[in-house]
Symmetry: C2
Amino acid sequence: MALNYETQLSARNLFEELQIPKRYLMRLLTDLSKSGFIKATRGRSGGYVFARSLDTIYFSEIIDSVEGLLSFEGCVLGSTVCPVDKPCAMHQIWEKPKQTFLETLKTTTLADLRSGKNIRLQ
Amino acid sequence: MALNYETQLSARNLFEELQIPKRYLMRLLTDLSKSGFIKATRGRSGGYVFARSLDTIYFSEIIDSVEGLLSFEGCVLGSTVCPVDKPCAMHQIWEKPKQTFLETLKTTTLADLRSGKNIRLQ
DNA sequence: ATTAAATAATACCTGAAAGTATTAATTTAT
DNA sequence: ATAAATTAATACTTTCAGGTATTATTTAAT
Ligand code: FES
Ligand code: FES
């Protein structure tokens, strides 16, 4: 969607480009709509447009609304029995890649997807 | 195990330290044994020891034997419909964190787990 | 008004990974 | 020899994210 952010797109439009099951796609869109990333217009000639400017939508925010960012902040494997103050031996090993990943999420916006114009929508 | 690499440990020993279901743990140990990372000794006073020196066992190797490294080399999300030569718009975004992650896996050995001596086995 | 085209809500299905259960095989201590 | 303590093999169950199915609601074109 970000590659065509100006135009309102229906689930049908998106389905024709994307290789995601149509019905599943619709459920995702509904979720994104509830989360306030996109704005839904019902009825004939309806569809979805972004609710906000692309360069204000960070990947971290999207992921956070879908599954929660917490999963990335503690143990990479999502372990809950590993105490934060006395983590297991592996903890520090993952620290660096985890930070890099989090940093990418927190500094990348949907607008950044558009910079590589030669890359086709898949 | 790496924190006590010298001593042979039985599944019971490990279970007392780890917070993993005992039976599941045993299956994992059997798998690791088949993969050749640890050496199993059956019978009374049996158990597991590392089959090789800790500093020759890279995380990448372990993960590779368990689920295959390929999952990290292409699309981070594991998409197979995203062609390598013309990847989707998100591809380049993940490139950096993915490389960092892979690098960590490929340069870290089990011996590195021991460097932080003050970290307790969890 | 009616119909077509869209989103919304909600309940259901499925396949693979995580976890369990059971039984067999192996070794050592007594 | 027997029993105890271990790993091995294998089949089963559970869980949950990914995906389906169905029906309701909304809007605009005719
Ligand atoms: S179990 Fe993941 S950091 Fe300890
Ligand atoms: S879908 Fe993951 S890189 Fe294209």
